[in-house]
């Protein structure tokens, strides 16, 4: 037992030690990333808003992440509802292919998208990154929304329709409130994935880099590394908060619909 426990502890240290180092050096009063620590400072955080290129890349990333979240969640709602409610020829392979990017290496998605875009002679820019991110985020949204729509009893919609509502008001009054936690969860997760994503953004971005791409570029300048660390700290905190909200929303939705917890990422 003690051996197993030791293994588990080592495993967790290996996973999370680098992330714990991030905030430690973000508050360290030195441009050299090494122990011993030389003092506490918030200088690196205050430098963030004074770096115009950095602020610009944050804006670019936020626009891309919000658009991606909206697009992939909308597509996810359509696919999950179709999958839960209707049967049609070729349904299983179709849904399988939609889920495929989940296990496809991102580098392959990135390279093939780049090849296609160049072959079509289309200019690279924010929208090509949105395209790529929507491609990889949609399967996550479908996975989350599948559990929301799958837990929804089909006769609930029929009952509302039978009681005099229209198809649309039934969707608004019954379906939407019951799957809303799933939708919020899908929005937050796709937003987070898009915000953090590097490879696709690196390949498909034009003249305006996203935040991860900008950060990668800054690693060549050692004196900038503490600022990168500070920003990384903010990003990690933001990701953890958003993912926690997403999971809470998903669980609350299942409890509200009286269903059983069958999926989720956390």
């Amino acid at each position: 037992m003690t051996w197993l426990r030791g293994y588990a502890v080592l495993y967790l240290v290996f996973l999370y030690a680098p992330i714990v180092l991030l905030p430690i050096f973000a508050f360290n009063d030195s441009t050299i990333i090494a122990f011993p620590l030389s003092g506490f400072t918030t200088q690196w955080f205050t430098e963030i808003p004074n770096t115009p290129a950095l602020v610009k890349s944050v804006q670019t990333s936020l626009i891309i992440a919000v658009t991606t979240a909206l697009l992939s969640t909308t597509l996810g709602i359509c696919a999950a509802r179709a999958g839960a409610k209707y049967s049609f020829p070729g349904k299983a392979p179709m849904l399988g292919f939609i889920m495929l990017p989940l296990v496809l290496p991102e580098i392959i998605v990135a390279v093939s998208l780049l090849v296609v875009l160049l072959a079509l002679g289309l200019p690279l820019g924010g929208w090509t990154v949105i395209l790529g991110h929507t491609l990889i985020c949609t399967p996550f949204c479908i996975a989350i929304l599948n559990s929301a729509f799958g837990n929804l009893d089909a006769s609930l919609e029929e009952a509302a329709f039978d009681l005099g509502e229209t198809r649309w008001s039934t969707f608004r009054l019954i379906t939407l409130p019951l799957v809303m936690p799933g939708i919020i969860s899908a929005l937050l997760i796709s937003f987070t994935i898009s915000l953090d994503e590097f490879i696709i953004a690196f390949f498909l971005t034009g003249t305006e880099p996203t935040l991860p791409v900008y950060l990668w570029g800054q690693l060549r300048f050692p004196q900038k590394i503490p600022v990168v660390m500070a920003l990384g700290t903010i990003l990690v905190a933001l990701s953890v908060i958003l993912l926690t909200i997403a999971e809470i929303a998903r669980r609350r939705g299942i409890a509200r619909a009286g269903g059983k917890d069958t999926g989720g990422f956390l």
Binding site: D153, S155, L156, E158, A159, A160, F161, D162, L163, G164, E165, T166, I174, P177, L178, R256, A257, G258
Partner: protein, 364 residues
Amino acid sequence: MKDTSPPPPIVSLRAVQKYYGTYHALRGIDLDIGEGEFFSLLGPSGCGKTTLLRTIAGFEDISEGTLLLSGQDMSGVPANKRPTNMVFQSYAIFPHLSVAENVAFGLRRRSDLSKQARQVMVEEALDMVGLGGYGARAAHALSGGQRQRVALARALILKPKVLLLDEPLSALDKKLREQMQNELRRLQRHVGITFVLVTHDQEEALIMSDRIAVMFEGEIAQLADPQTLYRRPLSRRVADFIGVMNFLPARATETGAEISGLGRATITPEQCPAGPLSGDCTIGIRPETMSILFGDEPAPASETRGLVHELAYYGDMTYYDILLDGVEKPVTLSMKNLVGRRVLERGETARISWDERALVAFAN
């Protein structure tokens, strides 16, 4: 026997066909359901009874034929515009709404009602189903029986011309189911609305219904009141589905039949519901119409002998499987366990009394 002519029809189906691709789900249904009737669609799973109910509700289109609700053609009229409401098998209680909000859901479109009027209607509906004072509760915290009642109140508050019930009691345990059978019957008499119930439980159909349509493979095999259905089934299949019936091979004679294991009997035309007999035929007899004679007790009607092959003691009743002379398959008969009455043992020979008036004849 009861008068079986139905009151003026409120639901009327003529030559209704339903196809799912190549699957023929409803095969020429002709049916009139009267105003204020408690009507049941009874049959095994896959017989088309639920499809028929959903067709009346408007959830399924009919492929051919006509459906009239109080004289009006329903083709092209969706479920939300029909004068019917449905109680679903899963009850379909909206889990994110309170009990009162669930019951009031169908009133949303009634702009003529004041808030107070709505509240009064909801209270009345909840009182009617025995859930007075439950309005503020969260719907997902209710028990199965309570959900059922909320579903009933939610449908009945709209005063539909027809209430459709899709296996509403199948999810309840036995005790609660028996209680709800009585309550549904009482409720139907109280509101006077036509109820159309789908069930696979023949006992439930017999207890609750004014009339029953027995369905097999998309067709109505027999449409009758419970007593006629039980006593004069039109076919062996119906007889077998409704309760227990023993079948004995027989030969038609001029006045009746020569029955294996029982002997000669007179059969009246009423005992041949499917038409006059000739040649080889089958005679049906219910377990409770036969009895065992003890000691030198005289037989009230006819008498035969048999060997106790197997028995099952139920407390109030004992079911015997008896081997009759010249019959391969044992016949089942049931005896009440009256005070002082002995339970026979396996291998005993028994004197058996039977009555020719209880026989039903079927062509082979």
